[in-house]
């Protein structure tokens, strides 16, 4: 009994550690990436004994230290308790969502099969949405507690945007859910192991291409990253809802945001790109369509799967960051119109088509 708990604890710690670090690295990637894109050097001043590490030291060590040591400032008449609570509320859902995402098939250790997924809930997808909806709290409370017009405006915008895109995301995911017939992510990933016509791996994107597009856009909007950057819109409302935040709390917001990027990437890979699935790789080795079989040890298979998963997640994180530095910011009404008048109908159509397709193919 204790062993199970221990295993879960390890898994949980491992996932948490991986996400937070990834968030930090993404911070650096973004800094350097944006510099590369904008043909500038990027942050490289901070160095330890002369070693700047291409700005790594700057973003990973200098910035966190600076933020942590800054004065924990609470605006006048702001709600003291709520002000400190808001960043936690922002960060908490982002981290927790990863618990449901499987990063590997099964690890057989000492006769025990360990499911490489922190929590195997049969209502995984709903859990994800539940946590996504919680993240709105952070913004709203943060905005209200800082007793600042700009933050209030940012908070309102953020809340409205997240709520509306949540619907679009939800509907698009339902398409996938119908196809796979289950709400449990691990089962979905395993289902993506099959092959269409013997050679094409049956990934989500292949079955539901439209759903993927909708989902990805909505996910980016959820994370409030650049194209949908109205809540933070520097040009109009300084820093949006976290204008009054500095130091540790801002760091939490910042980390929260990157954690959401990672989670979004994880979700996309799990739902649409077969999660840890490597094409033609089964439990005991590769089975290529053109007949050749390469048997592998279970451990190596697992390592391969986890690696595949990680690569996919990194790719999507990179994609989101690139997205940020290429697309201009949408006006707020454009965001809203996109959310309600384009994504939502599209998702409904997609849902309707998938449902029709299923009814036709599978006799009731």
């Amino acid at each position: 009994m204790i062993v199970d708990l221990a295993i879960v604890a390890v898994k949980a710690f491992l996932v948490l550690f991986m996400v937070l670090n990834l968030a930090g690295i993404l911070g650096w990637v973004e800094r350097k990436g944006s510099a590369l894109i904008q043909d500038r050097i990027g942050a490289n001043r901070a160095s330890i004994f002369g070693f700047a590490g291409m700005g790594l030291v700057n973003t990973l060590i200098a910035d966190p230290i600076k933020m942590l040591t800054k004065e924990d400032f609470i605006p006048a008449h702001g709600d003291r308790l709520m002000h400190t609570l808001a960043p936690c509320l922002a960060l908490f859902p982002a981290l927790v969502t990863f618990a449901v995402i499987p990063f590997g098939d099964v690890l057989v250790v000492g006769g025990r099969e360990i499911n490489l997924q922190v929590a195997n809930l049969n209502i995984g997808i709903l859990y994800i949405f539940a946590m996504a909806s919680l993240s709105v709290y952070g913004i709203v409370i943060g905005a209200w507690a800082s007793n600042n017009k700009f933050s209030l405006l940012g908070g309102v915008r953020g809340a409205a945007q997240m709520v509306s895109y949540e619907i679009a995301m939800g509907l698009s995911v339902i398409g996938i859910v119908i196809v796979y017939g289950t709400l449990e992510p691990q089962a979905m990933v395993r289902a993506q192991g099959e092959l269409f016509w013997g050679w094409l791996p049956a990934w989500g994107v292949v079955r539901q291409p439209l759903a993927f597009l909708l989902f990805f856009t909505a996910a980016v909007a959820e994370t409030k990253r650049l194209p949908f950057d109205a809540p933070e819109g520097e040009s109009e409302i300084v820093a949006g809802y976290h204008v009054e935040y500095s130091g540790g709390k801002f760091l939490m917001f910042f980390a929260g945001e990157f954690a959401e990027v990672v989670t979004a990437a994880g979700l996309v890979t799990t739902l649409f790109f077969g999660g840890w699935q490597v094409p033609y790789l089964l439990r005991d080795g590769f089975y290529f369509p053109w007949g050749s079989v390469v048997s592998l040890a279970p451990l190596t298979v697992t390592i391969l799967q986890v690696a595949a998963f990680t690569v996919k997640v990194l790719f999507f994180c990179w994609l989101q960051i690139i997205l940020r530095w290429t697309l201009p910011r949408f006006r707020y009404d454009q965001i809203m119109r996109l959310g309600w008048k384009m994504l939502l109908p599209a998702a409904l159509v997609n849902l309707f088509l998938t449902a029709a397709w299923i009814v036709v193919r599978r006799p009731v």
């Binding site: 709600d79 709520m82 049969n122 949405f129 709105v136 209200w144 908070g155 309102v156």
Partner: protein, 159 residues
């Protein structure tokens, strides 16, 4: 058993906060917390689907709406507490609570029924929802539609 007591204590604590907090936002947050703990309570009662729904619907949507309205209206009224009225109200509530508690000792449920694993899961709920409760489901959706239209009509700023 301990889990239940912890959760019960938290629920009562937060609900008391909801009622007694002078600042509206605080009571709103307290309500959110109560809902969250209730969701966990649901889980202990083998109702995972409802737990998540609770968070998704209640904590996620309704509370946001309430917070939204609070932010929009930004009411500053820190009301005075009329002691007499409070005492009266709480007395009434206490009396009601005693009555309900007294009810409990009636032999409502004989034995604890065995419950299949996927008891609270989406499949079993969906199963009975769309078979036995199809009509109420339809009505609920109409109700929601009406509520939406009503809310928009009411809250719309008369041009």
């Amino acid at each position: 058993m301990i889990v239940f007591f912890i959760l019960a204590f938290l629920t009562l604590l937060f609900s008391l906060l909801v009622v007694t907090q002078r600042n509206v936002v605080h009571s709103a947050m307290a309500l959110a917390a109560t809902l969250f703990v209730m969701a966990v309570l649901f889980l202990t009662l083998d109702a995972p689907m409802l737990g998540v729904l609770q968070i998704l619907v209640y904590a996620g949507a309704i509370m946001i709406l309430i917070l939204f309205v609070i932010m929009l209206l930004n009411p500053l009224s820190i009301e005075a507490r009329p002691a007499a009225w409070w005492m009266l109200g709480s007395l009434g509530a206490a009396a009601l609570c005693l009555q309900l508690a007294a009810l409990v000792h009636r032999p409502a449920v004989s034995a604890e029924a065995a419950v299949p694993a996927s008891f609270g899961g989406p499949e079993s709920i969906a199963q009975s929802l769309f078979t036995d409760f199809a009509l109420p489901f339809g009505l609920a959706s109409v109700l929601l539609l009406v509520a939406i239209i009503g809310a928009v009509a009411l809250a719309q700023r008369q041009r």
